[in-house]
Amino acid sequence: MRLKGQTRTVDREFVAEVESEIDTAVAACYQCGKCTADCPLSFSFDYTPNQILRLMQLGQKEMVLRSESLWYCATCYTCTIRCPKEIDIAKLMSVLLIKARQEGYVADHKIRLAQETFVNSVARYGRIFEAGLVGTYNLKSGDLFNNADIGPRLLATGKLRFLPHRIKGRREIRKIFDRLRSSRKGKR
């Protein structure tokens, strides 16, 4: 089977892999659209949640992984609690996002950058250093004045720290990252 205009054909193996992570067969979905109907972020999606399910049913790995929707899903679980077929769509979206990142499909670089900056902050200090986070993100994204309008007022509250809190167990945290990385390499 081939969708018009698509070069890739069906990838059943990919579907099976994803299904084992979400513990449900995507064939259960009968395309009722209840997941899409109250998805707070669907206005920003290229494929609605039910269309993501549909693409999965048709084994369209590439179209799914290229989808912007994965990046704009807030993992709010609205879809999951409403699905009449008990499909955990929120989980599906996050499983797909991780796969997309692994395979190098990035639909929104800013979001990718924000997520990675956040994780790096954890890796470095063990906790989030918010002022540093915003700064680093703005620098790297080139969007220097992002959120600049609230910056000064925020500073006035005195809630922001200007130095990171470095936890004592920083080494333990680093080790988590390192061990994960080496175990991943071992598997490849």
Binding site: C76, S94, V122, G126, R127, A131, D149, L154, H165, K175
Partner: protein, 296 residues
Amino acid sequence: MTIKYAYYPGCSLESLAREYNVSTRLVCQDLDIELVEIPDWNCCGAAPACQVDHMLSSALSARNLALAESFKLNVMAPCPKCFNRLKEADLEMKDNPDHLREINNLLEKPYHKGVQVKSLLQVLYQDVDRELISCRVKIPLEGLRVACYYGCMNARPADINDFQNPEDPTSMEEILAPLGAELVDYPLKTYCCGAAFGLARVDLVLRLANELLEMATLVGADVIAVACPLCQQNLDLRQLQVNARYGTRYNIPILYLTQLMGLAFGHSSKELWLDKHFVKFRKLPGATQAVSSGAR
């Protein structure tokens, strides 16, 4: 009888949501809940970690759980995202021995499945007698129209927030009822605020915040009560951004549940850091009373 918890404030409560931290501690003290902060806790990784690597997210949470375990105390987290990460990691490790083994391989100090994780909301709802809350009220919040906003994380997913209905949670209302506030029906109480997109995609957040603020205005709320740092920030911090973008003139204070409780329990607005909000809360209930009771 005091209840004792290992306290996990989480990163937000150390910075942008410090008033949540302060008011939580005050209110817990009033309600005989002893909080022992987990020493040297680390960030749970929040949403980004689990969107980047699920194992990483679990391991970060597991370290905190293992720390709490050495105190033989169950864990309480005020931030629903932290709660979500900690509890999901805990459930997965309890469910799946292989997963537990893999995670422990990443840690210096293994976790033995010995704690339970609760959110602040759950603790206030389940562990605290409503009678006790009534007893502590010094200044009833009479005439204050409160819309309770849970957001997504305080209601869902169902297996994490298993103490209330994910579709129509009522814990906040039930906790606030003894304070004398007037609780308005807020139909968007579990709608999402855009969560963590504030950093990279402010536009997404503003659109949702606008919907939420419009509805709060429509139902005539004086204040929106929240129990999540992200909800608070997206609605308070960004209220002026919403006004700028959509040409609206919202002016609705966004208070933490614990700040409202603190007010009713007789704490001053300064103690509760109310002045740190962008949208100022001016309709202090019984403002005159507050002075006199303070004098008493």
